[in-house]
Subunit: 337 residues, 2 copies
Amino acid sequence: MKKMLLIYIVLIAAFALYVLRFEYTSQVNSSWENRGLRGDLGETYMMITFQSGLEYWKSPLKGFEDAADALGVTVEYRGATRYDAKEQITVIEQAIARKPAGIAISAIDPKSLIPAINKAVEADIPVILFDADAPGSQAYSFLGTDNYKAGVTAADKMAELLGREGEVAVLTLPGQQNHEERTNGFRETIQQRYPNMQVVEIADGHGDTLKSRDETIRMMKAHPKLAGIFVTEATGGAGAGEAVQNTDPGNGQKLRIISFDTNKATLDLIQNGTISATIAQGTWNMGYWSLQYLFHLHHHLTVPAPSPSGENAPLPVTVDTGISVVTRSNVDDYYAK
Amino acid sequence: MKKMLLIYIVLIAAFALYVLRFEYTSQVNSSWENRGLRGDLGETYMMITFQSGLEYWKSPLKGFEDAADALGVTVEYRGATRYDAKEQITVIEQAIARKPAGIAISAIDPKSLIPAINKAVEADIPVILFDADAPGSQAYSFLGTDNYKAGVTAADKMAELLGREGEVAVLTLPGQQNHEERTNGFRETIQQRYPNMQVVEIADGHGDTLKSRDETIRMMKAHPKLAGIFVTEATGGAGAGEAVQNTDPGNGQKLRIISFDTNKATLDLIQNGTISATIAQGTWNMGYWSLQYLFHLHHHLTVPAPSPSGENAPLPVTVDTGISVVTRSNVDDYYAK
């Protein structure tokens, strides 16, 4: 009987310990739940772009994924394969049918996606736009680059490179809004801040490496004192780089190039000194904060709450994700990001 | 012996269950630790404003505190008691000495605080500016209202209230930048979008209730057809409200008022119908996302990382926190926030 009693006591003690342990654990878990932002792995946030093959999307997607890791939620990437609005609309509508916790969209053009965006919002799926806006849609926020300011920064950097004097040119895509804004920011800043500098030509690079190379060579001949060139997109930047590598300007002065974006070709040309600087957009931030905003909308963490009338702004409405100037001194930070 | 065996089996089973439970729980806890954003209660973030008594700061501070609750960190509020730059500089320097995890500052003026802000950043204390910027400082980001856009929204709301026709006026603080921007946004929008509306006068309300009341009465007499008035700050809005409550315009039409900000006096006047609408700033968002940004800088969660050269933008650089239009239909949401 004594043995039996002992066994009972041990049994009861083990059970009590188990219960206490269980309660302690529950308590710890619930206090975790009151602290820290995190969601559920079953919660899926989608990123949708056009031209899904572009290297450019890697960095916003990395930001989107990093935020998802931090918050313990799941992401999916979908893209229209081509530069085609109808295809992107189809991709958005397929996404809506899957009822994700939120969608971040880069809009192929400002108007045609609006009905699909509004359809998502009306189905209670939050939408945030990044990189390319669709003004007038019911999306809660836009995160992207202020392209005029990017042009201003390029002008200041060019002035620094050239000692605030000399002839400069722009190689761009005339008629495309982002590129017009970059060009205007550059041109107006040179005119207003640097009286010893002149913008002698604004040329069309057609977004093509060979055409941009040929245009650069032509401009170097037409303006023998040309000291610098600002190229508003990366493909043309590579073309201008080729021109400078293969042409002796004859005046002993190397033509300085400032390019745009940070694809591998551009970074390589910075590392070997052909391109002096490039403008990096805040692409990681576009993706990272898009996911944060969608998470806050999904979990009703915003003040004021979204209203059906659309009269409340539950989140910052326009976010200038900023730019960075990449030169040889910091180019290593931009590989594989 | 059979009974004893049974008891042993139960005992071993209970123990096994306990061990399994313990292991399962440990696993869950460590996966919690890899997921979710949270800091440490020992981590202190400070908010510093000027004129610490203003009702206006309650909402950004609430946003700052809400973000701190969500992230499990601690906040402290400090303010210069008066509208005095030297006092705010002293408060910032005292804050630096305490080595907080980050500081959010609303700058009393664009220039005089820059050395104190830079001193904090150089001491590795991240600084974010909100509500009032100090351009050219080393602060990482600015979150605030786009005042021109706020004026545009006020103009569109006024047009809606008046059926897109009639004479309107502005009561403002001429010479103060925020108020000039609100006025310009309003005036240019009326001119460009509403051909049957005219801005007949832009008057000085001196930021004073009595003077604003008298100016409103004077304008109602000078322009007998005056149908609406946009007041760019809350004190003047209350004055215009008094004028309208006590004056019969004689034409049977009630003067419509759109005011600015959401102090209790303004909300009361909206509830009783004297003021038709007011422009609420995204003050909660200013505070909430300021803390989020500081947290991300403190924990090195940004990409790219902040660089000593200042050439990288680790965070969005300018955030338009948006505005909301408050009317009788949603005024209840704005009390005590």
